[in-house]
Symmetry: D2
Amino acid sequence: MDYSYQQCVDACLECLNACNVCNVASLKEYDLAMLRECIRVSRECAEICGFAAQMLEHGTNFAEQICELCAHACEVCAAECSKHTHDHCKQCAEACRRCFQACRQLVAV
Amino acid sequence: MDYSYQQCVDACLECLNACNVCNVASLKEYDLAMLRECIRVSRECAEICGFAAQMLEHGTNFAEQICELCAHACEVCAAECSKHTHDHCKQCAEACRRCFQACRQLVAV
Amino acid sequence: MDYSYQQCVDACLECLNACNVCNVASLKEYDLAMLRECIRVSRECAEICGFAAQMLEHGTNFAEQICELCAHACEVCAAECSKHTHDHCKQCAEACRRCFQACRQLVAV
Amino acid sequence: MDYSYQQCVDACLECLNACNVCNVASLKEYDLAMLRECIRVSRECAEICGFAAQMLEHGTNFAEQICELCAHACEVCAAECSKHTHDHCKQCAEACRRCFQACRQLVAV
C-alpha cells in the first residue's frame, strides 16, 4: 500500500475508535435528550469507517466509491458532534474531519 | 445447509432486524433516559447476530463458539428489552428469545 | 419499511448468501486457477451486500450512496460469475442481477 | 482503555491486516491449489479479528468470549499459514500468534 492509502486506512480506524468512544460516552451523559442525533450518527459513522478500513485493506476495486461514502458520513458526524461541548464529541468531530480529508485525498489521487 | 443450520441463520437475521428497529426507535422515545441500556445492548446484539449470520453462511469452523456467543448476547438483550413496554422492545425481546433457542439448538446438535 | 426498501434488504441478504456459497464452493473446485477472480469478487460482493443490508435495516441516511455501491459490486460479480459453468457461479450471477436491480430501483425512488 | 485492552485491539487490527494481505496474495500465487485452506482460513480469521477489534473498541460486555473465539481462529490460521513458505504466509502466521497471545492475556486478566 502506498502512503496516502495507508494513511486513509489509519484515519478510518482512528475515526471508528473516536466514534465508538463518543457513542458509548453519550449514552451515559446527563443531557441525553440533546444527544439523540449524536448517538445515531456516531454509530453510523463508526460502521461506515470500519467497513471502509476493511475494504481498503483487502484492496477493494471500489475504493473511490467507498471513500466518498466514508467522507460523506464523516462530514455529517463532524457537523453533529461540533454542536456539543463534551470532550468525546469534540474529539470525535476532529477525528471525523481528519478522516474526511484522508478519504477525499485518496479519491483525488 | 441442513434444516437447523438454516433456521439458525434466519433467526439471527430476524433478531438483527428486530434489534436494529428497537435501537433506532428507542433513540426517538420520550423516556430516553430509561432506555440507555436498551440502546446499548440492542446495538451490541445486532452486531453479534449479524456477525453470526454471516459466519454461519460461509460455513465457519467456529459455529459452536459463535452460536454460544450469540445466544449469550440474545439472552442479555431479551432480559433488558423485557423491562420496557414499548412494542419495539417487546418484539425485540421475542426475536432475541427465538434466536437464543435456535443458537442453543445448533450447539446441541 | 416500505415495500421496495424491504425488497432491497432481502435481495442483499440473498445475494450475500449466494456469494458466500459460490466463494466457498469455488475454493474446492478442480479448475481453481480459472476461479481466482471469481473467489476474489464473490468475497467482495458478499461483504458489500452484508454491509448494505445492515445499514438499510437501521435506516441509514446514506441509502442512495450505499445502494449505488452495492449495485456496482453486484454488476462486477455477475459479470465474472457468468463466465463460469458451475451451478454455484450461475446462481451467484442470478442473485447478483436481482440485487443489482433492487438497489437500482431503490435509488430511483 | 487500559494497556492490555488497547494492545489486544491493536493486535487484532494488525492480524486483520496480515490475514487480508495473505488472502489477496495467495489468490495470485502459482501454487494456488496448495493454498485453498490458507485462503479459506485467512478470510475467516480476518473477519473474526475485525469483529473482535470493533466489539472491544466499543466496550462489549462479551470481551472474554470474543477474545477466546479470536484466539481460536488465530491459532488455526497460524497453524495453516506455517505450512507455506510464502512471505505473506509467514507474516500472517506471526501476526496470528501475536494476536492469539494478546487475546489470551486479556482473557486471563
